[in-house]
Symmetry: C2
Subunit: 321 residues, 2 copies
């Protein structure tokens, strides 16, 4: 759990739910508004312009209201029975396009692939900082999914610890490997592509499927068919294939579910451990159709009104891409 | 994870977010509308009227759109590498008052205590069904917290499994006990009441505090000072003291946070195991001030912009009750 009091602007302002997302008029992510963000840490410019000036295709900048700070040491300490450390980390924003009117679904496959390469490049760079053990890359699309800016973007957070969900996923995968000497995700891919009922679509490199036990309606996983633990070490053709499949899945969701808000998360191996044999990177995509309420908070499991077989069928039949 | 396709009314209707909650005009929980709910399983009537007729103070009815069904066997089965069982369980609604205009915060202490006794009575009854291993009692107050009906009510779900969050909490408490032969919650109560900085208020039986690592701003725990693993076995004076403290905390939240939506959850021991020495029942109260987005889903940990010390201070100073 991260306590980040700097994200609150006024001490008396405890209500954080923004009524509206920031639209085009005051958007700091549009072409020509580069002075409204911190200086870029990465940019793709096809015509080679100056840094922090117009003419870019994609920009990565530090988050202006970071949840974590890059400077300083971890300074682990105890307070009685409790443990504490400084909130050290990097928090960056990937501005996926200069065009305010685009979404990830409406971008071209080449533009989406460029976003994936930016993820990779930032991960490889931040990995060099030995304080970081995990890099989380995620995207909140739409106000209902937590986006406070309309302009399409992703976020990256580099953490000095391995988050619980990764810990649990990795421990589960390790147990499966210990019992069977096989990757559990490879087993899932084999079973699901053979059965087909929960497969949304696939190409030579990637399969998109509704997982057997989805927490949310239309929860979708995109997995590389060839085993690999780390997103940032994936071969080139996997990014190309992922971009193609991701665009098609997002277009199908837009069509079948009336352009829902969604969260997208890259699941990849921590830096700090050797998971090569048993972990398998993938993307999780969760359209925001229901509200999470007391029951879900309380139990860590979920009431889902849509079966994965039905979700896969609806998205297969929606067409797209 | 529970797949409950019966909760969806029309097959094409995947968007579940209700625009508005059901108000007083069509409220099925008001006095005189007893025919709009399934027949009651429990009711308190101070003037001893007929069942399912007006004149009650509190009613418990089965949920009209249950997430789980009471009838049938568990029928555990495999699908290849996956496991599945029937969604057996009970899903009940505790209608806390016949008065549509009241909230838990505005009810009298005696009325709140009556709600706690109803929880207890239903737990003791449902415990007799050996298929059930856990009973979850929770309350969603306000649309932002997931409530679809305005009229103040709680929910009860009896489950054939122990939910993950309980599993983890119990495993953690068992490890602490194995190392120290002390209950971890008793240790927390001692440390926190001695230090005081995170204590919101307390009486002889119960303490309300901001936990050391709150996932959400103003997350509040109410713990009985005397050790006990099971809510339904608590002594009478703990319910009385809890009702008093709960009212005061809710009034303080209403004052300091502009009557927020909130989730309230009773944490109590599973039926199926002997946790008497090391588990400690309590209530968790989470005002809904922020949206959960990709980062939180992805990591299972949370960015919280308000420190527990600040939250406790604000609620101490808000006065109430």
């Amino acid at each position: 759990m991260i306590i980040s009091t700097e994200r609150r602007k006024r001490p008396s302002d405890f209500r954080l739910e923004r009524a509206t997302t920031l639209g085009a008029e005051e958007c700091p992510f549009c072409d020509g508004r580069e002075d409204l963000t911190p200086p870029e840490v990465l940019a793709y410019r096809h015509d080679g312009g100056a840094p922090n000036a117009p003419g870019w295709d994609l920009r990565v900048v530090p988050n202006k209201f970071p949840a974590l700070k890059v400077e300083g040491g971890l300074e682990r300490e105890a307070e009685g029975m409790f443990d504490r450390m400084n909130g050290i980390g990097a928090h960056e924003v990937i501005i996926e396009t200069p065009d305010h009117g685009k979404t990830l679904a409406s971008m071209s496959e080449a533009e989406i692939e460029r976003v994936l390469w930016a993820y990779r490049e930032r991960m490889l760079d931040l990995k060099k900082d030995i304080r970081f053990r995990y890099i989380l890359i995620f995207k909140n699309h739409g106000a209902a999914a937590g986006a406070t800016l309309e302009h399409t973007h992703s976020q990256l957070i580099a953490l000095p610890i391995v988050p619980d969900f990764v810990r649990e996923e990795i421990d589960g995968a390790r147990r499966h490997f210990a019992a069977k000497e096989r990757c559990v995700f490879c087993d899932i891919i084999h079973q699901e592509t053979a059965a087909g009922r929960r497969v949304i679509l696939e190409n030579a490199e990637i399969v998109a499927l509704a997982p057997f036990a989805p927490r949310f309606p239309f929860e979708t996983w995109l997995l590389p068919k060839r085993h690999g633990a780390r997103f940032e070490e994936a071969p080139r053709q996997q990014y190309e294939a992922l971009a193609r499949l991701l665009k098609s899945v997002l277009m199908r969701m837009d069509r079948a579910l009336e352009t829902p808000a969604y969260n997208l998360i890259i699941h990849s191996s921590p830096f700090s451990e050797e998971t090569t044999e048993y972990y398998h990177w993938h993307v999780e995509l969760i359209p925001k159709l229901t509200k999470v309420a007391g029951f879900e908070w309380g139990t860590g499991f979920y009431i889902n009104p849509t079966s994965p077989e039905e979700a896969a069928r609806v998205l297969r039949e929606a067409g797209g891409g």
